[in-house]
């Protein structure tokens, strides 16, 4: 009996120090002078521009990776082709990469001295130090999530229903739309939620490729760092709270999907 309370206390203290206290502290710091300073900190032109850039990035990166995720998961579970294992391993690879390394790799391709960078700059479409670079960096780091959620779901689903539909004369697109997508919808949404969380929260890769110019190429996470370095702590905490609230919504969405029994 004593051991039970000892363990409970141990776990409680550990979580309090590592998790709870820091989370409570951000909210407390942002709101300790009331809603006024919080509101004025997140309604400066730089803050609004940062939030806008984060939203634009999410609006491109999430759909792009969702479509890729569906295609890749279908290929991995429904087809045999040469290099299938390599294909799967490459999709997983961004999880093993430091975000800074991702940023560097993109710089070496799209930067001023990179493989394709000079050509893009010459044709008036610079990638690095502008929005396309930021979007590209977040796409790389959030690439695996949809595929990783869908592969087990598709394996479980099997192909019988699709075969039945095909026998009855349904076209392949029709089958995907009417049979496959409805069957995998919870797994798909779960993958999209994870992707969005990662896209909104990405810092390292974006820090390398963005140039970090306030009001121009600054996402919310870069804005937090920038405010902190400028000793504007209220600004940093306020922007952090906005990001923390987004992650709370993300976790809530994940929980609701969990309860629907997808995992």
């Amino acid at each position: 009996m004593r051991a039970k309370y000892l363990l409970r206390g141990l776990a409680g203290v550990y979580l309090a120090i590592v998790l709870v206290a820091p989370l409570v502290f951000v909210f407390w710091s942002a709101f300790r002078h009331g809603l006024g300073p919080f509101w004025s900190a997140i309604s400066t032109p730089e803050a609004v521009a940062a939030l806008k850039l984060t939203l634009i990035t999410a609006l491109v990166a999430v759909p792009a990776n969702t479509i890729f995720g569906i295609l890749a998961a279908l290929a991995l579970t429904r087809r045999t082709f040469r290099g299938r294992r390599v294909f799967g391993a490459l999709i997983d690879l961004p999880l093993a990469l430091s975000p800074v390394v991702v940023g560097l790799a993109l710089l070496l391709v799209w930067g001023e001295a990179g493989w394709f960078g000079p050509w893009m700059i010459h044709h008036g479409m610079p990638v690095v130090f502008s929005t396309p670079g930021i979007i590209l960096a977040t796409i790389v780091v959030s690439l695996p999530f949809v595929t990783r959620e869908l592969v087990p779901v598709l394996n479980e689903l099997g192909v019988e229903q699709q075969e039945a539909a095909a026998t009855l004369g349904a076209s392949p697109l029709h089958i995907v739309w009417r049979i496959t997508l409805p069957a995998i919808r919870y797994g798909l949404v779960y993958g999209i939620v994870l992707t969005t969380a990662r896209v909104v929260g990405e810092f390292g890769a974006v820090a390398v490729v963005s140039g970090n110019i306030a009001g121009q190429s600054q996402t919310m996470t870069l804005f937090v760092e920038n405010r902190f370095q400028a000793f504007d702590l209220v600004g940093a905490y306020s922007a952090s709270v906005v990001l923390a609230l987004i992650s709370v919504v993300t976790v809530a969405a994940m929980r609701m999907l969990n309860r629907r029994g997808i995992r």
């Binding site: 141990l10 776990a11 550990y14 979580l15 590592v18 998790l19 709870v20 206290a21 820091p22 502290f25 951000v26 295609l71 890749a72 290929a75 991995l76 579970t77 087809r79 045999t80 082709f81 299938r84 294909f87 799967g88 999709i91 997983d92 690879l93 999880l95 093993a96 990469l97 430091s98 975000p99 800074v100 390394v101 560097l104 790799a105 993109l106 710089l107 070496l108 990179g114 590209l136 690439l143 595929t147 699709q162 075969e163 539909a165 392949p172 089958i175 969380a197 929260g201 810092f203 390292g204 390398v208 937090v224 760092e225 902190f228 952090s240 990001l243 923390a244 992650s247 709370v248 976790v251």
Partner: protein, 280 residues
């Protein structure tokens, strides 16, 4: 998780032939391969080329510079410390979540998802402000290795807990009852019956956490500051080299980091599967 999820067995040949929609699916596969090449393969090739394109001696000079060696060494030390602490404490937390029952247990369970979703820079900022110079507790972890370990503990905690939790929940308690009936005390039951069953899960958590920890940047950068030889981790060192336009040195250290991460995942995956086979 990382090493196994996409490793599903391929569909059998018979099913393959009966599968509908060959041409459309091929176009889908083609798009996916092209996208993956552009997003992952080409940048990685550029990275490898930048690291070793100048020859092995240039690569070796870059990674054996005192600052690079110090940064890589520090990274492995703080990661190992954070992962070791979480391997123990994460198992304790998982135990309490599965075997204990108290009001608000679901809230603790939900809370453990937050480090996954919280932006790493926010995690670093909050840890720094709470346990930093002006924090309410009068401790100062800013620019210390303890601070870095703490940041890594924060970001890898869910990996440790979530690796053990389902295995613990699925454990057959009849074995423990049988051992207790035969006179084993609670500690003996834990050591001889429960722990051997948890080892593969703990190892898998260690592999994932380690791989994540050595690459971590956002949570670490504010706490670590930028003191070469003292608190400069590999990712912070790489970032500094990029800012100094020394991309060859950055690429060389990146390659080491990438290979280390892959080796960790493979090694812990192998140990895990071997232990699992022995246990059965």
């Amino acid at each position: 998780m990382v090493t196994r999820a996409l490793d599903a067995p391929p569909p059998s040949r018979g099913r393959q032939r009966a599968r509908p929609g060959g041409a459309g699916a091929s176009i889908g596969l083609g798009i996916a391969v092209a996208y993956l090449s552009l997003i992952v393969l080409i940048p990685l090739a550029a990275l490898a080329w930048s690291a070793i394109g100048g020859g092995w001696s240039a690569f070796w000079t870059a990674v054996s510079s005192p600052e690079a060696v110090a940064a890589l060494r520090l990274t492995f030390e703080v990661s190992a410390a954070a992962v070791a602490i979480n391997a123990v404490m994460g198992t304790v937390v998982a135990w309490v979540l599965v075997r204990d029952s108290f009001r608000g247990r679901w809230a603790v369970d939900v809370l453990l998802d937050l480090p996954f979703a919280l932006p790493t820079i926010v995690a670093g900022l909050t840890l720094l402000s709470l346990y930093g110079v002006d924090g309410p507790f009068g401790v100062n972890i800013a620019y210390t290795r303890i601070g870095i370990v703490m940041a890594l503990i924060f970001v890898t905690l869910p990996f440790s807990v979530r690796a053990v939790q389902p295995v613990l929940a699925a454990l057959d308690r009849d074995m423990e009852d049988a051992a207790a009936t035969l006179g084993a005390g609670p500690f003996t039951v834990f050591r001889k019956v429960i722990l051997p069953n948890l080892v593969p899960a703990v190892l898998s958590g260690i592999g994932l956490s380690f791989s994540r920890a050595i690459g971590e940047f956002g949570a670490v950068v504010l706490i670590a500051g930028n003191l070469p030889f003292k608190t400069e981790t590999a990712s912070v060192y790489i970032f500094g080299q990029i800012e100094n336009d020394n991309s060859a040195a950055a690429a060389a250290a990146s390659l080491v980091l990438l290979l280390a991460s892959l080796v960790l995942l493979v090694v812990f995956g192998l140990i895990e599967s071997r232990v699992t086979r022995h246990a059965r």
